[in-house]
Amino acid sequence: MRFLLAKDLRILRRSPMLVALLVIYPVVIATLIGFALSRGPDKPQVAFANLVPSSGNEIELGGKRIDVTRQAGPLFRAIDPVRVKTRAEAIRKVRDGEVLGALVIPADTTRKLQAGLEPARVEVFYNADDPVKSRFVRDTIKSQVQDANTALTKELSKVALDFLGLIGTGGEYNFLGRQFDVLGLERSEQILREARADLPRGSPARAQIDEVIRFASLARENLDLSDDVLSSVSAPLKVRQVELDGGATPLSSFAVAIAAAVSLMFITLLLAAGALALEREENAYLRLVRGLVSRTALLLEKAGLAAVCSTLVVTLMLVGMGLFVDLDWGRLPLAVAATAAGALAFAAMGLSVGALTREVRAASLLCVMASLPLTFLALVPSGSVAPALYEVVRVVSALFPFKPSLNALDVALNGGEDLGIHLLHLLALFAGFGVLTRVALNRFA
């Protein structure tokens, strides 16, 4: 077997173009997939015209001043603002394609907020040349304006609550520089009780005062509840985030696992399928299995060659990616074990392809054609299809090595449970595809 292994390595060494393609192609594909999954779109450039005079950025409510420009902070973190001075300039920049959208804050915004008679309106303009980007800009601005709205409502609610507190308990109130003493319901009730006590028994005024006292008491008690009511009005929906099963792998680390699994798949499949198909393309297969090498030994040699080469390449790739992505180096041995198990499963699958085809080119084509659907199938998220269909997707994915390899690499790289089960799954696939290949060789070779 070692002579065959040496022969295959020599043939690989004399096929530098093939080896380069075998390594570079999967790495490029894996890197692109990794980028696509780990990087969100860049911040969109959005023209921002704040037409509110700088002196009018604040509104005064109940003696409190609220700076509405502070609400723009989160928005500016989500977009790349291009500040412009006029509405026309903002629209022109959108039309010229210099920016993807424009946000215009009209000059009367704070005045309308201050008056409270009608809602203040901001204007948003989109460039719809690229539907995807347009959608992204629209959603980003909408979401951020919504956040600003909520934050502003919260501020207003606070002021309203202070007012209600003043009505309930009384106190000092400053309006336009003048100080007022507000009596408040609590003190009113107290005064009324004292006044009632001074009235002679049987006085008809007592009953009237009792009525006012009851009203003051009831009003004060209900005002105590207004805190909660206003708090609910300012934020009717609150989100409590709970993480259930599935781990908490950061997207970038998960992308590394995907990149590694994709590379592993392409390299191993192509190498194993190509190596076996080459024996038949060169007509050497029958000469070999005619007593020189057993079919099983031949398959083990090819599987070993493909698995060792791909494990080596993917391990180097992981080390390389570790320089750019935060990986736990202590977990590298686990990742190598997951890679090796995945490589064996892919090698057995590749040999099945090689057993079905007589030429290296046909085997390579079949490998690529089989790999892509399997990859996409394994990445179908739950909830994106009907539950019954998702179950089918899960079963089909489990029958091929990509999903188990991805799971094993993810757990090995990022932590989690059941690495042993994933490795056993891969070894079972190695055995299953091995038997299939052996049968296929008897049938087709």
Partner: protein, 239 residues
């Protein structure tokens, strides 16, 4: 030239579904004998050689030697194009578990006359030279019998002549050679004995001269083109 039988096969039958590719074919070949198996396409020549080589199992019948005792040379060169002539020979010598693989490589380079091309990759060799290496690999196990499946097919006349010189030298050295061909003239010229297969049936076995006599006696083609006469002979036999 013919001695005691080195190779013998008894009543070989092979079926593919309902079709009988080989029907009770028996043969024997002595030491140093050159036996040609001829017949039209689909006659069962390759099936017979595959069974003798142990690549296929006969449904019925037996072969006196096991696969490791018979050298086999497939019709298409079974060589690695990216390896050199010497590397191909060395690989198969090792797989054949030769006592001294390097000595075997030297012997075969000598035998094939390809010493100067030893370090050339097989992919750059001519068809004739490639076939010589192909045959040499079949001889690496030093088996007493060599099976050649259409050894000169797809070769030009010059290359064909060189291959035959090589094969004849092997037979002269005592190797029993059984080869298949659909070239009647090639069988007539080189074989000591001819086996005629048609539709899986062995319809003639004897020396080339005896085949000529049989053809002449069963057809009206006297002294005319032998290939035409052979076709008429097959027709007369219902094939």
């Amino acid at each position: 030239m013919t001695g005691d039988a080195v190779l013998s096969a008894e009543r070989l039958t092979k079926r593919y579904g309902d079709r009988e590719a080989l029907r009770e074919v028996s043969l024997s070949a002595g030491r140093g004998e050159l036996v040609a198996v001829i017949g039209p396409n689909g006659a069962g020549k390759t099936t017979l050689l595959s069974i003798l080589a142990g690549i296929q199992q006969a449904d019925e019948g037996s072969v006196s030697l096991g696969p490791r005792e018979i050298g086999w040379v497939p019709q298409q060169a079974a060589l690695y194009g990216k390896l050199t002539v010497a590397e191909n020979l060395r690989l198969f010598a090792r797989l054949e578990k030769a006592d001294d693989p390097e000595a075997e490589v030297e012997r075969m380079l000598e035998l094939t006359g390809l010493r100067e091309r030893a370090d050339d990759q097989v992919s750059v060799l001519s068809g004739g030279n490639r076939q010589r290496v192909n045959i040499a690999i079949g001889l690496l196990g030093r088996q007493p019998v060599l099976l050649l499946d259409e050894p000169s097919a797809a070769l030009d006349p010059r290359q064909r002549e060189r291959v035959w010189e090589f094969v004849l030298s092997l037979a002269a050295g005592g190797t029993t050679v059984v080869y298949s061909t659909h070239d009647i003239a090639e069988a007539e010229r080189h074989a000591h004995r001819v086996l005629v297969l048609a539709d899986g049936e062995l319809i003639f076995t004897g020396a080339p001269g005896e085949l000529e006599d049989a053809v002449e006696s069963e057809t009206s083609h006297r002294g005319s083109d032998f290939e035409q006469a052979f076709v008429a002979y097959l027709k007369a036999r219902g094939h």
